[in-house]
């Protein structure tokens, strides 16, 4: 442990810890843009710069290690001016179409600009005309809005390790590319959507978000993904009873099996729930035709028939086949039912077929 002062407060910190981490623990908020939780800092956006006594330049708090006796000012006039200028420079090349943007009101650039009191456009860039990339099934890329924070590249290469996204070109011409600058739909992208969740602005959005402006009727429900036994936790975003898009459950993400990630099925495959052919009640075949039934009715019927078969032919006349599409807990319950209640080892799982 060592101690330093941040904004004239004495703070204890670990050797090797960054200024940002020490400050946050002490409740001092420093904004960031390029930082991705759990990944090494790139120090690229420079939003988090702070003033350290004795240093000529400003210091990126996200990556600079603390030292004993260090004196840090996180909101000095110089640091604030730098932060504000950086955001203004990002806005200089940014299209003025917040109203039409899927991320309106949920945009980190807006939040930063508001927090820094930016009320006018001092700088004007010459943004290149860039076309929307709508080539992929689920994701729309709008490079004109990209702030080149690199978060999408970081997750695609370091978290999901699909190595699709990368920086192309350099300087003011730098842009994010898929493979060798291919449209996303023609690239090796697997549409996991991790990059969309990482994007702070409207440069990467889910297609369905474009068809549904977020408003008061938008709701979020946490569900367990119905596709495989991993048990990924999904925040389903829906409106008027209709699924719009999914994000990995953000609350306590590190404690979830999916740790903030989803695959293409959990991400985009929940649209079936509004499908007209989807079964919404149990069905019992009566006189050769399937008829809707209540759960009690259906369960009673199954229990009675299983009991009859067991009484007539013994427990081994019955077999149980479980599914990878249900949770581990449900598979466990199925095992208990087979072995404990019915008394048979005739139990298998679709994943072995």
């Amino acid at each position: 442990m060592l101690s330093l002062t941040i904004n004239d407060r004495t703070i204890e910190a670990e050797e090797g810890e960054t200024i940002l981490s020490a400050a946050r623990r002490a409740g001092i908020e420093i904004p960031t843009l390029c930082a991705v939780k759990g990944l090494p800092p790139t120090g690229a956006c420079r939003i988090c710069v702070v003033e350290v006594a004795g240093f000529g330049g400003l210091v990126p708090s996200c990556s600079y290690p603390v030292a004993a006796g260090m004196k840090v000012q996180t909101h000095s006039p110089r640091a604030l001016e730098a932060r504000k200028t950086i955001v203004e420079l990002l806005l200089a090349d940014h299209p003025d179409d917040c109203l039409y943007c899927a991320r309106n009101n949920a945009c980190e650039l807006q939040t930063l600009a508001q927090g820094l009191g930016i009320r006018q456009r001092r700088y004007r860039g010459t943004s290149l005309p860039i076309r929307l990339d709508v080539s992929s099934p689920g994701i729309i890329r709008d490079q004109a809005k990209c702030v080149l924070c690199g978060r999408c590249v970081a997750v695609c290469t370091q978290v999901v390790v699909n190595d699709v996204l990368e920086f192309g070109n350099r300087g003011a011409k730098a842009k994010i590319v898929c493979d060798a600058d291919r449209p996303m739909g023609l690239s090796t992208c697997v549409q996991c959507g991790a990059c969309v969740e990482a994007c702070p602005v409207g440069a990467l959005v889910f297609k369905e978000q474009m068809n549904c402006m977020p408003d008061g009727r938008m709701q979020t429900t946490r569900v367990t993904c119905p596709y495989c036994g991993v048990g990924c936790q999904i925040d389903m975003h829906h409106k008027d009873g209709k699924w719009i898009y999914s994000t990995a459950t953000a609350a306590n993400a590190e404690k979830q099996p999916n740790q903030g990630l989803l695959c293409v099925k959990g991400r985009f495959g929940l649209d079936f729930q509004n499908h007209e052919e989807r079964l919404t009640t149990p069905m019992i075949r009566k006189d050769g035709a399937l008829v809707a039934a209540s759960w009690d009715e259906a369960l009673d019927f199954a229990a009675t028939r299983l009991g009859e078969v067991k009484a007539a032919h013994g427990p081994d006349a019955i077999g149980f086949l479980s599914s990878a599409k249900v949770t581990n807990e449900e598979n466990f319950a199925m095992m208990r039912l087979a072995r404990g209640v019915i008394g048979t080892n005739n139990l298998d799982h679709c994943a072995r077929l």
Binding site: R46, L89, V147, F167, N169, R170
Partner: protein, 579 residues
């Protein structure tokens, strides 16, 4: 890709501790073998062979300006239009080429014979204007020579157009052999006193060499002036990892053309210096990272290295002293920022040349994560003198805290632009005299490469050329590239050309440099075109002040400082242009 090509790439890869480092050389090779560009399919093949994702290979290919992705003419004419070239009339050469080829910059003639491009500083500042044609330079281009060049190329012949480059030396350390015929050969190098320091060094302990270099107080000649011996002593010890030495031969700072004088005319001096330095710091492998445009100089170095190896000066058990050491020449691909030592290391690892966060410093975590020393060509070429004659002799040259000889590259409006080796601490006036004097009346001078603050004629009066004096006079010695401007020079145009250079070269990693350089360029463009306002000038100054000290690497400062100086010191000239 043909099996032969694959085999050659494999051979290149075997020279490096990491296969990934072969990516740039492989792209160079494939490009040379396939009409000057590498398409998507070839890129994918290279990526697979090296073992990197296609996205990363593309990221690398598109980062470096020398890698072409679309067909280019049989002769790719690249005219340097940076400040020294601009002062020497490069714009007229470009206009002449546009007329005679009937194409615009960026276009290719319909017969596919010529592509015309403008490029950043080619480090031929004393022999400007310069046109790079494929892998070679045509220097000191006049309208007549340009006509002759085009006429010959139309016949399919790369002509021989000799150049007379000016040079001079009062120290005879670094440019000692500059006028000696055949000095690139080992025999001539030896006859003229070469390879005398190496046996002396190998007879001592490495720590003694470090101590001697430290005692000489030699300051790094790459620009920052950091004492080399002190840097060497920062090396992480007992890490269980190899230590590497890298020679920074990127020579990208506009106005700088000194390192090539050593590599082109006295390569063994650098090799001897690097071998001694490698021995001193405990390295068994050294790299020369040379800018891509210097391909033919890389060939001179390769040849000299092969000769040295043959003679037992490199390789196993050098001079029977049990020291193993070898050198690899790594050719860059067109990126100024790769002169910054951590960007250089990334580039040498086969990546985009994005500078790294510091700390850690290369001496602790450098190439392939191992302790690494990066030194400039001129720094390393000074080492044999220090070892042979001793620190005291070195300190006999120059002034206190600023010892030793220095090559000054003088370009712009002087009568004999060229490279001149003088002791540090020489008055600017003496150097200008050596270069034949100012052509016309001095208006301004940039004394340390483009990244240092400009001086007005009045400020340059009595200037002493060493690190400390320059700092005291409000500028920096930098690389010692002196650009002289007479009264005909438009400083606003110089400023605009300068910021365009930085906007083009910014790696784009960090916001203030990427967006800031681009925004300043947009503002200055408006001003120079007569559409600007005084408020625009204030914005430029304000932006420059904010950018300083905010960027990830020193490049932000490298443009913010000189642009701010130009706009504030010559404000009237800018103000005269606004609406």
């Amino acid at each position: 890709m043909t099996p032969e090509l694959q085999e050659r790439i494999e051979q290149i890869a075997s020279r490096y501790p990491s296969r990934r480092s072969a990516l740039l050389p492989a792209l160079h090779l494939v490009q040379r073998e396939s009409n000057g560009y590498v398409d998507g399919a070839q890129l994918a093949a290279v990526a697979e062979l090296i073992g990197v994702p296609v996205s990363e290979a593309f990221g690398v290919q598109s980062y470096y300006t020398m890698f072409e992705r679309r067909p280019v003419g049989k002769f790719h004419l690249q005219v340097d239009t940076n400040i020294p070239a601009m002062l020497a009339g490069a714009e007229e050469i470009v206009a002449q080429l546009e007329r005679s080829l009937d194409i615009r910059v960026g276009e290719t003639t319909p017969d596919g014979l010529f592509t015309l491009s403008t490029v950043e500083c080619l480090a031929s500042c004393g022999t400007c204007p310069v046109i790079q044609v494929n892998d070679g330079y045509y220097e000191s281009m006049t309208p007549q020579r340009t006509d002759a060049l085009i006429a010959s190329l139309r016949r399919g012949v790369l002509p021989d157009l000799p150049v007379q480059a000016n040079f001079g030396s009062v120290c005879n350390v670094l440019l000692k052999r500059r006028g000696t015929p055949n000095a690139t050969s080992l025999a001539v190098y030896r006859q003229t006193g070469g390879y005398r320091a190496l046996p002396i060094a190998l007879a001592k302990k490495p720590a003694e060499i470090v101590a001697e270099v430290k005692a000489s107080n030699i300051r790094g000649r790459g620009g920052a002036g950091f004492p080399a011996g002190v840097k060497w002593s920062f090396l992480a010890k007992n890490t269980g990892k190899p230590t590497y030495l890298i020679c920074n031969a990127d020579e990208g700072e506009p106005g700088t053309f000194k390192d090539r004088q050593i590599m082109e005319y006295d390569p063994h001096l650098l090799i001897e210096g690097m071998t001694i330095a490698g021995y001193a710091i405990g390295a068994n492998l050294g790299f020369i990272y040379i800018r891509g445009e210097f391909a033919w100089i890389a060939a001179i170095l390769e040849k000299a290295i092969a000769e040295a190896r043959q003679a037992g000066m490199l390789g196993r058990d050098i001079l029977g002293r049990g020291f193993d050491y070898d050198l690899v020449v790594h050719v860059g691909a067109g990126a100024y920022v790769c002169g910054e030592e951590t960007a250089l290391i990334e580039s040498l690892e086969g990546k985009r040349g994005n500078p790294r966060l510091k700390p850690p410093f290369p001496a602790v975590v450098g190439l392939y994560g191992c302790p690494t020393i990066v030194n400039n060509v001129e720094t390393l070429a000074s080492v044999p003198f220090i070892v042979e004659h001793g620190a005291a002799a070195f300190m006999h040259i120059g002034t206190a805290n600023n010892f030793g000889p220095k090559i000054f590259g003088i370009s712009g409006h002087v009568r004999r632009p060229g490279t001149y080796e003088y002791p540090l601490g020489t008055p600017l006036a003496t150097l200008l005299d050596a270069a034949g004097g100012v052509d016309g009346r001095l208006k301004a001078v940039i004394v340390g490469g483009l990244s240092v603050p400009i001086l007005t004629a009045a400020e340059a009066e009595g200037l002493i050329m060493d690190y400390d004096s320059c700092l005291k006079s409000g500028t920096m010695l930098g690389s010692g590239g002196i650009m002289v401007m007479n009264e005909s020079t438009s400083i606003p145009r110089v400023a605009l050309r300068a910021i365009r250079f930085y906007a083009h070269e910014s790696c784009g990693q960090c916001t203030p440099c990427r967006q800031g350089s681009h925004t300043v360029a947009t503002l200055l463009d408006k001003v120079v075109a007569g559409r600007g306002t005084l408020a625009d000038l204030d914005l430029v100054v304000r932006l420059c002040r904010t950018i300083k000290g905010t960027t990830l690497c020193p490049t932000g400062e490298a443009f913010a400082t000189p642009i701010e100086a130009m706009v504030t010191k010559f404000r009237d000239e800018f103000a005269a242009l606004v609406r």
